[in-house]
Symmetry: C2
Subunit: 319 residues, 2 copies
């Protein structure tokens, strides 16, 4: 564990990835309460919505209002997903601090998810980079290219690592500030994840890959998170209550659970800035606003260990 | 991951730890079918029961018959739990290949679980060692002392690592062949687990600690398994469908799920000897025999990745 970094950014994606994957529509006021409560618990980055046409995702139709609200919370990085240039324009107008455009490594998945070939997505990336470069620096959001289905695709099956590396390089060459790796389908394992992180970093540089987006579809979510930390990843996406997944990848539901991830990191001695107990309390807001949706998570059910107060374990000779 | 060992022994504890924790009693014939099917899927060690008074655990009253049956399966190591000398005598008579006596690091838990102080447990250990030494070598089961609540106790809270190390040393001095570390309460985290494994091994030697028994109570089960592998642990207990837990540690249910563990190991390239697809098929036997019990596991729900055939991922330049 020698490569451990003490400070880890847990990026909450529930208001985007969670809410886009369920049928219920969360009222705007409940979203604001959720975001405010998580920020108050110490969460420093939240992906609050997606700038997609409301017809496609009515659950996220209020994203501009949510971004504007979230920006009023001191210290919070407000992130949003954008599927194309039009979305990026709306995100910039709303004032998002960070935008992520997904590029599916599997072109089959790309066609289903964004209805675009790789070349068509690159065209959007070019347009977004041009847009951002025309903005004053202090109004320019951080632009991430998110490589989805990077660990395999429910439609294509295995995905060649060469292809992931090449697409990451292409996104950086086009002008992205950073790339991210997404286990959209929950296929990743710790060995594969470490290998791919190293390969991509060898190509684009360490600073250009700091975060991963993991799912818990096959129960390996936290093991993968641990593996990512070990090779120097410092940003981990997670969703409160494990809400979410990918509606176009059947069976591939289930972001890693923020509560379980934060408990793991906190008990290991990582500094997330998050108060676990307060974070657990945030669930109530989501459960009350979405009474028909299932919330996941083991730590919330089991509770914190008896006598828990941060880093866990009594090291030898310290007792 | 430089400390990885390619061969990992997954020890199935469902027929003991799983069945002792539920109200339903599995018929003897179903137990035999379960054990035979798991062995046929490639599982090489199964803890098939516990030699406790049938009044206490009627679910395991047929343990002697199950041990005798399991011994007829070629290549299978037949393990059993024994709470005391009397249990060990019965295990020897039945022909168990391996016996484990639990010693709870938390004396409060020991009194609740085994109704014995540490000193009283040591007396039993002495008696068992004497019994085993009187047997011909080829009839002598491997004798493990299992340190339960090693990572914290639902009654006492944190547990001092010094204490775990001292008890491990004591068990080895009394004549155990090996010790094991059990996260009975699901409190362990990867950092704590690696630290404690190293501390205990520094005291008793690497060969005297090769296995850990993990729970998934707070969702960290597979992350902990990964952490254990990284420091050289080669035996991991797991329970099919995550059946089981500890009836005397409230809220502390949930062994790690054999199916998810084997999928993780297999996809990472570890040699478990187990056919994942066949293993998934074994669930049906347990579900049919225990229609009222909940079975856990993510991989069984999600299925194997599309195109899955062992070690997953297409390494760069190999595609």
């Amino acid at each position: 564990m020698s490569e451990h970094s003490p400070q880890i950014l847990v990026s909450e994606v529930g208001p985007r990835d969670g809410l886009q994957s369920i049928k219920s529509i969360m009222p705007t006021e409940a979203k604001k309460a959720w975001i405010a409560a998580e920020a108050a618990a110490g969460v420093r980055e939240i992906e609050v919505g997606s700038f997609v046409p409301p017809k496609l995702l009515p659950q996220l139709a209020d994203t501009a209002e949510i971004v504007a609200y979230a920006r009023t919370i001191p210290g919070l990085t407000v992130a949003a997903l954008v599927p194309n240039l039009k979305g990026a324009e709306n995100a910039v107008a709303a004032g998002a601090h960070k935008i992520t455009l997904p590029l599916s490594v599997s072109e089959t998945h790309s066609l289903k998810n964004l209805r675009k070939t790789h070349e068509q997505v690159f065209e959007e990336v070019r347009g977004i980079v041009e847009l951002l470069r025309g903005l004053p620096k202090d109004q320019r959001p951080h632009f991430e290219g998110g490589l989805s289905t990077a660990f395999g695709c429910t439609l294509e099956g295995p995905v060649a690592e060469d292809k992931v590396v090449a697409l990451a390089a292409r996104l950086m060459a086009l002008g992205c500030d950073e790339v991210g790796l997404s286990d959209t389908t929950g296929y990743a394992n710790p060995a594969q994840l470490q290998r791919l992180i190293r390969l991509v970093r060898a190509e684009v540089g360490e600073q250009a890959l700091t975060g991963v987006h993991l799912h818990n579809t096959r129960g390996l979510g936290l093991a993968n998170a641990l593996a990512a930390l070990e090779v120097g990843i410092t940003t981990l996406d997670a969703s409160l209550g494990g809400l979410g997944g990918c509606p176009f990848a059947p069976g591939a539901s289930g972001n890693i659970v923020t509560e379980d991830l934060v408990f793991m990191l906190d008990s290991m001695g990582f500094d997330t800035g998050i108060d676990v107990q307060r974070l657990l309390g945030v669930r109530r807001i989501v459960i009350e606003a979405l009474p028909d949706e299932e919330m996941y998570g083991f730590t919330p059910d089991a509770g914190l260990p008896k006598g828990y107060h941060g880093p866990w374990g009594i090291p030898a000779h310290a007792a």
